[in-house]
Every structure is written in C-alpha cells, then in structure tokens.
C-alpha cells in the first residue's frame, strides 16, 4: 500500500536562460569573431572587462588592438570611433554611463549624423555607441539618467533600446552590422534582473520593428526598456480583473515602428504610453502625435502618457528614488483610469 516516490516531474529545458548583460556580451563576442573589422573602445573595457563586465574576457580573446582602454575623454572616444568607422572599421564605442554621454554630442549629433547626408552618400558611419542608462539602482543624479530624448530627435541616427535578453542580443548584432550610426541604450537595471530565453543559434532582429509582447484587446500599453517588464506585470495582474492589456515593446525609438503602433491602437482604441524618461519632450509625445494624426478614427479615449517626473534627475535617497521610478502599481492605476474612460 505504501508507495515511496522520490521523483520530480520536469519538462525538458532546451533553451538557455540568460540575463541582459550576458546577451549583450554574447552579441559583441560573436560579432567580433564573425567580422575582424569590429573592435571595442572605451574606459575600462580591457583589463577590467568593463565596469559591468560587459566585455569580460574580451582582452584575452581578441588582444589589445581590438579591445582598447581609452583615456578618460568621452568626446574623443566618439570622435575617434567616428573617424575609424569612416575608414572601414566597425567600432563599438562604450560610454561608461549615459550620464557621461554629453561630451559626445558634438561628434555624434553634430558630426556623425550628418556624414552621409553631407557627403552626398560617399561616406557612411557604421558605428555603435552603446551605454548603460536608466535608474533604480541608487545611482542618483549622475548614474541614472535616460538620454534617449536628445538622440532620437536627430535624423541620421538610429536609437535602439531593448528590454529583454533575446531582443538585446539580436538587436545589438543588427546594430553592429548596420551601415549607419546606432545609439544602443541598455537599461542597467535589466542587466542582472531580467532573465529570459536566448537561443544558441545565430539570429538577428530588425532595427525599427516593435514587438507585441502580450496580446490584448482592451487597452494598448506602448513602452520600452525596464518599463516593459513592469507593464507585463501590470498586464498579468489586470488579466484577472478582466481587463485585457496589449503590451507593445517599441525596441527601437528611431525609426519608430509606426505600423505596429497604429495597428495596436486600431485593435484596442486606447493607448497608454509608459516610459521612465521624464514626460515633457519624451518620446511619448511623438508617439501620441503620430497616433493622433494617423489613427484618429480608432481612438476611444485620449492618448495618455505615464512617464518620469519633471525634476532634473533621479535623486539618491531611497525614499526619493522610489518616487521617481514607475512600478507596476502605478501602471495598473493608469490603466484602470484609462480603461474607465
């Protein structure tokens, strides 16, 4: 009568789980093996392997001609990368934190974005400028900023902001292979905290295509970066309340996937845009304008934005940082309000 059983029922797992940092590292590693024109430059990328270990092991694998520890001078990191890119190389320039990206403005916005246009197509800039940005790690004013707004405004640049390990790897590979300058924004809080499936087989993802992460019918959440995951949490919470939320991950901020934006609004009639970056002048405004201009007849409620507060940057004390950051609770509240309209 007594049965002793000590087994565990397990589904065979064939796909590895990785975090965003590992996905980024793998993408660069594979591309550097694939194409010897690809090289990495930045502060502490060599011996240290990067302050987040994004290039851990790279110096030993590829040598110091392709993995360069630069002097502490961001403007020259960008300028040197620009020059090398115009001369046939494929540089991946790392700016250690988005908060330090401002000196590269001159070389990237002022120069790189205009090279192809200004040379009438004769010269191009196949460079990637990658940087960790975003808050929620007690980074305070100078290690938490979101910098996308200053770049996606610029024609000639591409701006990518992945949220998941799968997307990060596929999009970074595409960025490295892209013939134009790509600003690749990694949310540092997702580095260790977001874990997801990443297949071993080679794959790339197209820049400029959004991704519907969760299908729904009542309301569209349009988002990117860390906020994607809080949107997913919110959607799951509300499923039980009978509100069907569609979650669209923009993935690329310039160029925006207008088709996907419009089709989700057509489906649900209500759009809530969620981003960590402060609201005024954030990409929520651009998305909202596009929806209003081109999707007016679909709308069943005002296009709404839930975004960061109007203070210059994220403060240090945990009580204050919490006020700045958007979490699933705040998103749930916003969804409820818009749903009720």
């Amino acid at each position: 009568m007594l049965i002793r059983s000590r087994f565990v029922i397990k589904k065979e797992k064939t796909i590895a789980l990785k975090n965003v940092l590992e996905a980024v590292r793998e993408a660069m590693w594979e591309e550097m093996h694939r194409d010897e024109r690809v090289f990495v430059l930045g502060e502490d990328v060599g011996k240290r392997g990067g302050v987040f270990l994004a290039t851990q092991g790279f110096l030993e694998e590829f040598g110091d001609k392709r993995v360069m520890d630069t002097p502490l001078a961001e403007s020259s990191i960008a300028g040197v990368a620009l020059g090398a890119a115009m001369q046939g190389m494929r540089p991946i320039a790392e700016i250690q934190f988005g908060d330090f990206i401002w000196p590269v403005f001159n070389q990237i916005v002022g120069e790189a974005s205009k090279v192809r246009y200004g040379s009438n197509g004769k010269l191009g800039v196949p460079l990637v400028l990658r940087t960790p940005q975003g808050g929620g790690v007690r980074g305070a004013l100078y290690h938490s900023q979101s910098v996308e707004a200053y770049f996606y405004h610029t024609p000639g640049l591409k701006v990518v902001a992945p949220a998941t390990p799968y997307d990060a790897k596929g999009l970074l590979k595409s960025a490295i292979r892209d013939e134009d300058p790509v600003i690749f924004l990694e949310h540092k809080r997702t580095y260790r905290l977001v874990q997801g499936e990443v297949p071993d087989e080679e794959y790339v993802l197209p820049i400029g295509k959004a991704d519907v992460k969760i299908e729904g019918s009542d309301i569209s959440l349009i988002t990117y970066g860390l906020m994607l995951h809080h949107c997913v949490e919110a959607a799951e919470l509300l499923k039980e309340e009978g509100i069907s939320v569609e979650v669209v991950d923009l993935r690329t901020l310039r160029p925006l996937d207008i088709d996907t934006i419009l089709s989700t609004v057509e489906k649900t009639g209500k759009a809530l845009i969620v981003h960590e970056d402060s609201k005024f002048g954030g990409i929520g405004g651009e998305v909202a304008a596009i929806i209003s201009e081109e999707g007016f007849e679909f709308l069943d409620g005002p296009v709404t934005r839930l975004a960061g507060p109007e203070v210059p940057a994220m403060p240090f004390s945990p009580t204050l940082e919490e006020m700045y950051m958007i979490d699933s609770e705040k998103i749930v509240q916003a969804i409820r309000n818009l749903s009720a309209y």
Binding site: R48, P71, P103, S317
Partner: protein
C-alpha cells in the same frame, strides 16, 4: 621628508588629528557599505596628506574649493562634521550638501566654500576657472582650488580649463591627486608623459610634482601656488603623487587588475605614518597622546555612526522643490 619651513607645531598636530579622523571615518563608511547601509562609497585612504595639506595652506571661508568624489579629507579639513558626511553616505534627512538628492560628497556647502556639482569627471575644472574669473573681476584676494584625478587630466574640459586660466592669469590652483589609476586604466594608458605636471608648460603656467604622501611638501607647494594666485601671477598645476589603497569605489573589484603585492607595497607609504614619524621625532607626539587622539577620533566616528543610523531617509516632500527659483 623634505626640509620644511617651520609650520607651527600645533598646526602639525592638528593636521595629524585630522588625518586620523579622516582615516577612521573612511574605514567606517566602507564598513557601512559592506553592511548594506551606504549604497556607494569612494575612499580617500592614501590621499589624506595631499587633501589635508592643501586645505591648511589656504583660507577657509574666503577661498573656494571645487572638489571631486574622493575628497573626503578635504571636506573634513574644511570643517564638515563626520555626522554630516555620514548622513550623505547613508542618504539620510538633514544631509547638508544636497538634501540626500545627490551621491555622497556632492552638492554645495556655501559657508565653507565647498562645491561638488556632479560626478561627471573633469566638469569642475572649467567651472573653477569661471569662479577664478569672477574673483578677478571682483578684485578679490581670494582664489579657487580645484581637485581632480589622473583620469580627469585627459578630459577635453581639463585642456580647455587650463588653457583659459593660463591665458587670463586667473587665481586658480589645479591640484591633481595622481594615484595612477582611473578605475582600472593605468597611467601608461592614460597619458604619454611621465608626469601630469609636464603639461603645464604647454599652457604657459608652472607645473610642480610633489610627493602627495608628504603633508609638509604639499603644504609648501600649495602655499607657493596661493601666493602666485593672490598676487595676480595666474594659475599653477600641482601634481600630488599618491597611492590608492582600495578599489575605485565599492562597486569595483581591483583584484581584476591589481596584484596583492602591488597594493601592499603602496600601503608602505602611508601618509599618516610619515607624519607620525616626524611628530615623534619632534617630540610633538608621544604614545600616550596618540592613544588619546585615536580614542577621541573613534568615539566621534562611533557617535556619528549611531546618529546617522537613527536618522530617517530624506523626506518625500523634498522631491519636487528647487527645480526653478521660487519652487517651494
């Protein structure tokens, strides 16, 4: 130790006390980080003589001090209390520099002329030059000193600042605390010259390299630079060579790029021990007095730790104010 011009004995003893207090406070803050109570810490251990020696050569209350994130001992020498400093590291209410909005050591403390606007490297140099410009325009006898590391010396802002100050003969002291590492990047990958001070010639100002662990040498060099600044002769670049005992910050693991021996060797030039030896030889210090000094410093730091621990985090009401003038 170099031959010194007589600094008053009492001043030397005071400097020693400040060094001891700084070291103990620094160690305690590092421990708080290990306990999860201080989210981010950067150590000044090894830099004490360069920082304290320089402040003692200047006029607090009159001169301006544009520091960077590693200048704990400067803050202490200028008169900040260990409790005030600790409130910054633990992000508590009552933090004087930024209301705990910024990383520790950042913000401003007007009464003592302390400014540290951001942790972006080298941005303080052009700002300090601007301060010097204003002082000159206002015909003041004061000067501005700006502190930075060897990494910062590569930044574009640094070049532009030094050039501007030299051209206009501004009352600025550029004090580089060269600990030979910018996080993990060693000096040889940072610059092609042996000394940061070598560049001064390129701008047309004097450049001086001193042993940053010799507090008297630092004091002398800064005194001379101050004289130049106040009499209208313009800026000086002082390079104080020091050692960094700990990783860049609590988020760094220096075992990846520095060997254990190297760090042990570095600690042999401890500025506190150097000054201690001098004071013992001069009979200004004895074992008994030293014990008292350490004991006093420890209880001050213990009290600060306890009080900072009891304090609450920055209040939420303090989130929105001061974006523009007139807010709240």
């Amino acid at each position: 130790m170099s031959a010194y011009k007589p600094l008053q004995d009492s001043k030397l003893l005071e400097m020693y006390e400040t060094m001891v207090l700084s070291r103990i406070l620094d160690e305690r803050i590092w421990m708080l980080n290990r306990q999860g109570k201080a989210a981010i810490v950067a150590s000044s251990q090894g830099h004490e003589a360069a920082q304290i020696g320089s402040v003692y050569a200047l006029r607090t209350g009159e001169d301006q001090f544009y520091i960077y994130y590693r200048d704990l001992a400067v803050m202490l020498s200028l008169g900040m209390t260990p409790l005030e400093i600790m409130l910054g590291f633990t992000a508590k209410e009552g933090e004087p520099l930024s209301g705990a909005r910024q990383f520790p050591t950042h913000g401003s403390y007007g009464e003592i002329g302390l400014v540290n606007l951001s942790n972006v490297i080298a941005t303080q140099l052009p700002q300090a030059v601007g301060v010097g410009l204003a002082m000159k325009m206002q015909n003041r006898q004061s000067l501005v000193i700006t502190y930075f590391g060897d990494g910062a010396s590569s930044a574009g802002d640094t070049h532009e600042a030094m050039n501007f100050a030299s051209v206009h003969k501004l009352p600025v002291i550029f004090l580089c605390e060269n600990n030979k590492y910018a996080i993990s990047v060693p000096l040889r990958l940072q610059m092609a010259v042996d000394n940061v001070a070598d560049r001064a010639q390129g701008y047309g100002m004097p450049g001086v390299t001193v042993d940053g662990t010799d507090i008297v040498a630092v004091y002398e060099a800064v005194t001379q630079a101050a004289e130049r600044a106040r009499n209208g002769s313009g800026p000086t670049l002082i390079e104080a060579v020091v050692e960094r005992y700990l990783p860049h910050t609590s988020d760094d693991d220096d075992s990846i790029y520095r060997s254990h021996e190297e760090i042990e060797n570095a600690k042999k030039h401890d500025p506190i021990i150097k000054l201690r030896t001098l004071l013992l030889n001069m009979d200004i210090l004895d074992d008994d007095l030293e014990r008292k000094l350490y004991s006093r410093a420890t209880s001050i730091v213990n009290e600060a730790t306890d009080n900072a621990d009891k304090a609450s985090y920055a209040p939420r009401e303090n989130f929105y104010g001061h974006v523009y003038k007139g807010d709240k």
